[in-house]
Every structure is written in C-alpha cells, then in structure tokens.
Amino acid sequence: MLTLPCPFCGQRDETEFLNTGPTKPARPSSDVTDSEWINWLTVPVNPVGYVEEKWWHVKGCGKYFTIKRHTVTHQIKMPDEDSA
C-alpha cells in the first residue's frame, strides 16, 4: 500500500487517491510524423527510475498534485526534489 503526500491533507492512503496518469512532455507541434504523435499520445513513460505522475485526492480534499514515484521501489518525492 502506498501512502501519498497530499499538499493539503498530508500523508494519506493510496485508496483515497486516483492516479490521473504520467506527466507528459509538452504536446508536439502539428508537423510531427504519425508515429511521433502516437508515441506522445499513447505510449506511457515507464523508465526504471522516477516517473512524474499526477494524482487526484478524490476522496479527500479534491486537490490535484504531481509527485515523482520510483517505478521499482515506489519511493515518492516531490517534483522539486532531486531525483538522483
């Protein structure tokens, strides 16, 4: 079970939250190839290491926020923390 750091409520159980997906890079310009567009649109970022994710505290205060989660250890950091 993960616990996540809601900016308003503090540390809460994962079951109070909804993962709203990885933080994506900026939308590419309209002149990209089809494969580049599909890559951006549908291929999830899944590195061995930290991935930035958006979460919604849907059963709590309702806040959206971004965290960095390690895909192997599930260690969680705030986006402004060093991910080394």
């Binding site: 308003f8 503090g10 540390q11 809460r12 159980d13 109070e16 059963k59 709590g60 205060c61 309702g62």
Partner: protein
C-alpha cells in the same frame, strides 16, 4: 466478539458548502459567530455548529436543523458572488455518530484514516475514504461524527450492521 459502540443515524442537519477566497468567506460568515479554522482538516465548533476546513478554499458548515432558517438568512446562499459561493446542501448528506469504547475500532474498519491524536487532533475534521466512498469524519464527544452522500445512507447502515453484529 461484539463491539462496545453505539452507532446512530442522525436526523437532518443544516449543512452549507462554502467555497471561495478566505478573506471574503470570513466576511460572509462573520454573522454566524464562528471563526475560520487555522489548520487544514480541523473544525471550529460553537453552540452545536461545526465549521470544517476541508480543502484549500473549501469549508463545510454543519449545524442543528433548528438553526437552518436563521443560517439561510445570514449566509444568503442565493447571493452568487464570484469570490464566495455558499450552497445549501442539507439534503445531500446522511450523518452517523459512532461513539463508545470501540469507536476507534469501528472507524479503523470503515476508513484508512490515521486517527492518532498527533495526526487527527480533537478538533479534527476531514474528508477521507469511508467504506470505499468519500465521507466526512469529525471528532465527536466519545467518538466520531461521519457524513456520507445521502444516496449511500442505506448502504452505510448495512455496513455498520454487519460490523456490529458480525453478520456476513
């Protein structure tokens, strides 16, 4: 083993959902006689009224139903100011009190909320997961007051029955 706890479905309460800029909200509710809580997920309580700080710019006011008309006049939910919206939501919630020696045990079954004093003090009030849905939990003399969206009221009653009677 039975739990030493009393669970009571509450009669109607007067409930107002308040969102907006903190300074404007403080002005709008000044007549109610309650100041805004200073810490997130806490409540200020006075004369049976509870003002809960439940989100960044979001509060919930609970009061005995006898005060509803008076609060409607004071809070003026029909005043749709851009920087402060007050919505009369008394019909939207069903409330329960859970009191007794095992109130903490009952709450531990219902919710993953950490109710240790350090994390959830005597004036604690927060939305959390409650039997899988979103529910308000508020400290109450001898236990907790909880509120869930009204359409789930019967379901939560059954869940409480299952816990307290050991029914499967």
């Amino acid at each position: 083993m039975g739990y030493q706890a009393t669970i009571k479905k509450q009669a109607m309460w007067a409930i107002f959902d308040i969102k907006g800029d903190v300074r404007v909200v403080a002005k709008r509710i000044a007549d109610v006689g309650l100041s805004l809580p200073l810490s997130p997920n806490t409540a200020h309580s006075k004369k049976g009224q509870h003002l809960c700080w439940i989100g960044k710019n979001h509060w919930l006011l609970l009061a005995p139903v006898e005060m509803e008309d008076q609060l409607l006049k004071r809070l003026q939910p029909q005043n749709l100011a851009f920087d402060c919206r007050i919505v009369h939501v008394s019909d939207a919630y069903t409330l329960f009190t859970v009191t007794g020696d095992h109130a903490d045990d009952i709450l531990a079954i219902a919710s993953p909320l950490n109710t240790r004093q350090k994390n959830f003090p005597n004036d604690g009030a927060t939305f959390t997961e409650f039997f899988g849905i979103r529910g308000l939990v508020l400290r109450w003399p001898g236990g907790y007051l909880t509120a869930v969206e009204r359409s789930y009221g019967d379901m939560i009653t059954v869940y409480f029955d299952k816990i307290t009677t050991g029914m499967r």
